[in-house]
């Protein structure tokens, strides 16, 4: 188990290193010059060269990368080229709402996916099965921005149940926070639940055919315990992997969802930074995103090993 975790950590570090290279290279490849944008109307050749030197952009690309990486390893993402703010601070401030949204969406998604997947599997080919699986495909295939707008139209404009936009940290004001988080979390969570419900259904159907389920029934385990304990414990193993794989997609979906609901998160920060060629902020946000996805996948692998004794013990 410890060797397994260590080898996964080593892989994670390699992935992060490669990701940092790609992020850095891509940012320098897209056209546009931040120095020009910063100077605007104040442009003179002298001022341009001066500012370029001050920002370190006159050094070689390799030098810039090494310099950046060394600072990143010390936890310093640099300063924003445009705003007078530390990148780490900007990223952190944007990161918290995004992560809150993603976690809330995960919770909403699992809360919808587990019961509907279980019901569909238990009553295979019934109206319940068709209904919940039809719903799953429906919510999965609707794009987040469209679903968000529809939800706003129904629940904010017409019913006036939930606010249409804004973000308040739930730990600052629990009710107001959750209130404002509800529609975005449903928008993003239903996307996730559609996929997970289908996987739980097929995985559970397979598990319910296994001999150990028949054996458990033969020893007197009742139906509910059979499904929710004996079968689900096995059926959730592939689901954990899916959660990890989908975490990246969830972050991507969060960016769109934030835009619809005007949440000051990573999405807004990244898009604005790209538009302004704010290299250090873009690098910071993408690196933070990559770091999170890789970290979650590491956590998922460890959880997977924990859930699956065959990996844990071997």
């Amino acid at each position: 188990m410890i060797r397994f975790v260590l080898s996964r950590v080593a892989q994670t570090l390699a992935v992060l290193f490669i990701a940092s290279l790609i992020i850095f290279a891509l940012m320098r490849m897209i056209p546009g010059d931040p120095v020009l944008m910063l100077l605007g109307d104040d442009y003179t050749e002298d001022a341009y060269q001066q500012l370029r030197a001050r920002l370190g952009l006159d050094r070689s690309i390799v030098h810039q990368y090494v310099f950046w990486l060394r600072n990143v390893l010390q936890g310093d993402l640099g300063d924003s080229l445009l705003q007078h703010e530390r990148v780490s601070r900007l990223v952190w401030e944007a990161f918290v709402p995004t992560l809150t949204l993603v976690v809330a969406s995960l919770v909403v998604g699992v809360l919808i996916a587990v019961p509907s997947g279980v019901v569909a599997a238990q009553r295979k080919d019934s109206a319940w099965d068709w209904g919940s699986m039809g719903f799953a495909i429906f919510v999965y295939s609707m794009p987040a921005f469209w679903k968000g707008i529809i939800l706003i139209w129904i629940f904010s404009v017409h019913l006036r149940w939930f606010p249409a936009m804004g973000y308040v940290p739930p730990w600052v004001d629990l009710w107001d926070g959750l209130w404002k988080l509800a529609l975005p979390a449903i928008t993003l969570g239903t996307f996730f639940s559609g996929l997970v419900a289908r996987i739980i259904r097929s995985s559970l159907l397979e598990v319910l055919e296994q001999d150990y389920i028949k054996a458990a029934r033969a020893k007197g385990v009742r139906q509910a315990a059979l499904v929710y304990r004996h079968a689900l414990a096995n059926a959730l193993i592939p689901v954990v992997t899916i959660i990890g794989l989908q975490f990246g997609a969830l972050l991507g979906g969060a960016v769109l969802t934030e835009t619809v609901f005007a949440i000051p998160g990573m999405g807004r920060l990244t898009v604005n930074a790209i538009l302004n060629r704010d290299y250090s902020v873009v690098q910071g946000t993408i690196l933070a995103g990559v770091f999170l996805v890789v970290l979650v996948n590491l956590a998922v692998d460890v959880t997977y090993a924990f859930l699956n004794p065959k990996i844990r013990v071997a």
Binding site: D211, Y212, K214, G220, V221, A233, N234, N308, P309
Partner: protein, 324 residues
Amino acid sequence: MTAETILDVRDLTVDFHLDGTVLRAVDGISLSVRRGEIVGLVGESGAGKSLTSEAILRLIRCPPGRITGEVRFRGRNLLDLDEDALSRIRGREIAMIFQNPAGSLNPVFRVGAQLHEAMALHLDEPRPALRARVVDILARVGIPAPRTRARDYPHQFSGGMAQRVMVGMGMSCVPALLIADEPTTALDVTIQAQVLALIRQLARETGAAVLLVSHDLGIISQMCDRVIVMYAGRIVEQASIATVFGAPAHPYTRALVDCLPRVDGVERLGTIGGVMPGLRALPPGCRFHPRCPIAEPRCSVDVPALRALTPDHRAACHLARPGA
């Protein structure tokens, strides 16, 4: 032979409703098991033995399955009980073990926990007592270092060890009947003997009756007091071990016995020509007649009833005579 009858199956039929057709996999069989007795249920693959044993505990998914008839266990018809009442009998009064021991244990739970669960479901005993009994049972079924092994997961057990655990689990609540469905088919020959000996020993100690399902007449002959022979969903013969081997009345039983190798024999082993008919193409009359060496014209028309030749010997053959 005056012991109380604990299991009395009457006219048990298992149908499967598939794509608009009805397949009758078990066709009106009746059998009984008395206290402390070991009864063998023998037949080729597909004869309906496993379905019969699963139908007794209603482990067949219905629909598409449908079970009719009566399964009287200590006077109560199990087919009339609701799921809740049934789950109090499963594992407590009737235990069952299966063909695939490695697959019978849930891979994500510790072996000890699964044993513990089996007892916790039915016995009203405090946790520490049950935990101690888990280790006791593992020791009794011959698992070395039972205390450590209880914390292992099923994949760390060999097939033979897993089946010994299953036997121990089956007997943990001291059931009146153990149904063993091909318990040694998946195991090596040397391990087979150990597991069979364990089943016999535990059954003797607890006074449990055993219904042993097997396709292997050799195993049946070592273990059982009585044999029930099934062919294509019906019982063709029912008799004591001595009668089945000494004076089988049904030509199918005779053919099965001839297929067994004998220590003193120099003759070639017998085989049965042809294959058992599938459920979609059952022949009329006696289902064995296409393969039967002594079939007469009426065998392909009339269904032979299961007739008593002596009080303890029944056969379903038009040509059967006592002692024939």
